[in-house]
């Protein structure tokens, strides 16, 4: 299996602190990635500018700026527009998956997720290219 890319820094965006805790545990516990957290789309934009992550994991349903809107904003910023984005959603219907991919998302992680296999799931999505 080929690793698509070297990941050092991940930005995880979700308004639910329980999800942030769980996903961070899985990622930092099982890989050497550094996980930065953001609880809203706006915070995600500023954190992304600051840390230049190698990957952004973005919750779809968030109050205020939702996931897709945040992705749109990221794409407008020249320094951030090539960072791969993976959506996290509890509702992954086929048409939505297609929509997100059209928007430039690398893939989708469905909730509920298993924190113990989260890194593998992400690697799987990224290696598909």
């Amino acid at each position: 299996m080929t690793t698509a890319m070297e990941i050092k820094q991940v930005l995880l965006v979700d308004d639910d602190s329980n999800i942030r805790i769980l996903a961070q545990m899985g990622l930092e516990g099982l890989t050497d990635w550094k996980v930065e957290l953001a609880s809203s789309g706006a915070e995600a934009l500023s954190k992304a500018t600051e840390t230049k992550p190698d990957l952004i994991i973005l919750d779809v349903m968030m109050p205020g700026m939702d996931g897709p809107t945040t992705l749109g904003e990221l794409r407008k910023v020249e320094t951030l527009n090539d960072i791969p984005v993976i959506f996290m959603t509890a509702k992954a219907q086929t048409h939505e998956v297609e929509l997100y991919q059209k928007m430039g998302a690398k893939g989708i992680i469905t909730k509920p997720f298993d924190p113990m296999s989260l890194p593998d799931d992400i690697q799987g999505i990224l290696s598909k290219g």
Binding site: N18, I19, M25, G29, M61, P115
Partner: protein, 709 residues
């Protein structure tokens, strides 16, 4: 969907076994490859990856464990079933489960039907995919079995130890380090899960009220969307923390909310009824979860019993407290006999330690007697005395233990443990073997109030140790448990001389009719379908218990409040067995009320009842908790003292007579009357080696005496 892989790799050097397993599996439509050694198996794997491997523990050259270890090193994750001729110890089992991730351990020789059934629970045969299995997959991930703190520590210790080995291959070291991280991460997640549980009821309440608001304002789209949003969140979060059921209810609520049409009036009631039903059922599940989590956290700390120490103020308090901690005992202290009786009136303690220097009540060991009166049950005592005290006094006073001289942390804790056992002596015992703490706590909540002592066992691998220690009268056994099926556990018990008569009730899932048949094949007495209903559980357990023990409610004679003749016979058997095993004596005695038949004629109606009632009362207030007292005929009682001789029993009778002679009963003739008691004894094993023989011997003695007088 890809075609399901049903290719099974079998590794065993025994041709007969290989062929048997091969034929069995092929009969169910599996594709099978039979190999003789680890080497051969590895070569076969190059060609095609198996869906499952059946591996023998003992193989020539590379053994089964090493092969599995190599396979896991190469990141092959298919399920593995290990067949072994011996029941493995807990350490090995944990190693197999946690490190080598073996799905199931099966005892050789196999029972074909059970073997197939267990295997089909891991991968369904190609033709018929069982609906339960299909469902399981559809609900997303299934949380991995969570190790308890001790297991985590043990696994990590094992890994650390292996890492310090200088000869370790770098690849192996790398693998172990990875494994260590996995275990640590899983442990951290487990802790996060524990704190998440505390929030769960609140989250569900928020969802419930959001749904209610939307329901009350059916035309308000915003409220509807709000409810959807909350349901959506609970679904993702609860599910991710492994509370699959809660997640599923939230998902259904969300799905139904989507179908609500705020602009239409038709069919809306049906949808709302369905939503409300999901909310209600979800509430129940959440309540069960938080209850189980809180009790499972507490259960380890749950005291084995409560004890009141009646000791002079300021004497050995640290020893007592230390001992209570060692013996897992809830302790209260009181400095006077009057204080003790008051305390007992308020709280029902399970036992008491009495420093005899404090027994200021008149008469011999009167405090102990009064405490039993206040407790309304036969609680065990420990006497602490600096003066010499005779064995008959100890027995008659009711002390299961005597501490003569200085009380230390050691002898106090031992005394508390003995009292715990003595207190549990005559309650029927049920062992519940299940990996689900929810079910265990349910079983306990149903059976405990019925006077049944329940012990939960989450790790079936240590069942033999628990059997010896707990000596259950009945076993409730779950079929599906991680790493080991209930069938295997049952087979082990049924092959064991000491335990093969203990009835086993299997807990099976409702849809699984083959599983029920398998339950009987494995030697089970009965089965209960999950979800288990309260009434059904209680009535079945009682029914099976009554075959070995007399039923709880009919054990006690209503007039005298001592055991009935049948209960006395049933309960004396285990006592006699224990005394026989430990080469101890046992003293049995018959007490007869002289001229019992004429009491009513001489003194009026109810005279018989009065005397019998008082005699029973005195028997219950005196003697040790582990001694048996029963009524074997109208005016005849019998007591059984394990570990004692008839010499001691004779002196006990004298003490008993002293107390009895103080009793006066009202007579219709206007004045009070007294009755005489006649005694006779029999000693085990000299004068009888079972209950009936001892009873007959003592009764014969009684007759001879009355003939002589």
């Amino acid at each position: 969907m890809t075609e399901q892989n049903t290719y099974i790799l079998v590794i065993d050097d025994d041709k007969n076994f290989r062929d048997l397993v091969g034929d069995l599996l092929k009969s169910r439509g599996y594709e099978v490859v039979l190999t003789r050694s680890a080497k051969e198996a590895t070569a076969t794997m190059e060609a095609k990856r198996p869906a499952l491997a059946v591996v023998d523990y003992r193989l020539p050259e590379t053994d089964g464990m090493s092969w599995i270890s190599t396979v896991r090193e190469q990141n092959h994750n298919f399920p593995i079933v290990l067949c072994t001729g011996n029941w493995c110890d807990q350490k090995t089992f944990n190693w197999l489960r946690n490190i080598l991730r073996v799905s199931l351990v099966i005892q050789k020789p196999i029972v074909p039907e059970l073997f197939l059934h267990s295997l089909e629970n891991i991968i369904p045969p190609p033709a018929q995919k069982s609906p339960a299995q299909a469902n399981e997959n559809a609900t997303g991930f299934k949380p991995q079995p969570i190790l308890d703190a001790a297991q985590v520590e043990e696994s990590l210790e094992q890994i650390e130890k292996m890492l310090t080995d200088e000869d370790i291959f770098p690849e192996e070291a790398e693998r172990l380090k990875k494994l260590k991280r996995r275990i640590e991460t899983q442990n951290a997640i487990k802790k996060a899960r524990e704190s998440f549980v505390k929030e769960l009821p609140e989250s569900w309440k928020v969802l419930t009220s959001a749904v209610q608001k939307a329901r009350e304002n059916p035309r308000n789209l915003l409220l509807l969307q709000d409810a959807m949003g909350v349901a959506h969140k609970v679904k993702g979060t609860a599910g991710s923390y492994g509370f699959t059921k809660v997640g599923q209810f939230a998902e259904r609520i969300e799905d139904f909310l989507i179908t609500v049409d705020p602009h239409s009036d038709t069919h809306q009631e049906v949808v709302w009824a369905e939503i409300i039903r999901c909310v209600t059922e979800g509430t129940q599940v959440v309540e069960e979860i938080s209850k189980a989590e809180s009790t499972s956290a507490e259960s380890r700390k749950l005291p084995a019993m409560s004890c009141l120490a009646v000791v002079p103020e300021g004497e050995y308090p640290t020893e007592l407290k230390g001992a209570a901690a060692d013996a897992n005992c809830e302790l209260d202290l009181v400095g006077s006999s009057v204080g003790a009786i008051v305390k007992f009136g308020k709280t029902a303690f399970d036992s008491a330690i009495i420093d005899l220097s404090l027994d200021m009540t008149s008469g011999r060991f009167q405090l102990a007697r009064e405490l039993r009166q206040a407790a309304r049950k036969i609680i065990p005592f420990c006497f602490v005395s600096s003066n010499e005290i005779s064995q008959a006094d100890i027995v008659y006073g009711g002390a299961s233990v005597l501490i003569s001289g200085d009380a230390t942390r050691g002898n106090l804790s031992e005394a508390m443990q003995i009292m715990t056992i003595a207190g549990q002596m005559r309650k029927p015992r049920v062992l519940c073997v299940d990996d689900d703490p929810l079910l265990s706590s349910f079983v306990e909540s149903v059976l405990s109030p019925a006077g049944i002592t329940v012990r939960s066992l989450n790790e079936p691998i240590v069942i033999l140790d628990v059997m010896h220690e707990f000596q259950p009268d009945l076993i409730l056994l779950d079929v599906i448990m991680p790493g080991l099926t209930g069938y295997e556990v049952c087979r082990l018990l049924k092959s064991h001389e000491d335990w093969k008569h203990v009835p086993v009730i299997f807990l099976t899932s409702k849809s699984d009719s083959e599983g029920k048949r398998a339950a009987f094949t494995a030697g089970g007495t009965d089965f209960l379908s999950k979800p288990v209903l309260m009434d059904e559980l209680l009535s079945r357990v009682k029914a099976h218990l009554s075959k070995t023990l007399s039923e709880v409610s009919t054990r006690i004679d209503p007039q005298s409040k001592v055991l009935t003749a049948g209960a006395l016979a049933a309960e004396s058997e285990p006592l006699i067995n224990i005394c026989s095993q430990q080469s101890q004596s046992l003293a049995a005695g018959v007490i007869s009320i002289v001229d019992y038949d004429q009491l009513d004629v001489l003194h009026g109606a109810f005279s018989k009842e009065h005397t019998v009632g008082k005699l029973g009362e005195l028997l219950n207030e005196r003697l040790r908790a582990e001694d048996l007292r029963g009524r074997i005929a109208e005016g005849e009682f019998m007591i059984i003292l394990p570990g004692e001789t008839i010499e001691v029993l004779g002196k006990v009778f004298e003490l008993f007579k002293d107390d009895w002679n103080k009793m006066w009963f009202p007579s219709v003739r206007g004045r009070e009357f007294q009755t005489d008691l006649a005694f006779s004894t029999a000693e085990f094993p000299l004068e009888g080696d079972n209950f009936e023989k001892l009873k007959d011997y003592a009764l014969r003695g009684l007759k001879q005496r009355s003939a002589m007088s």
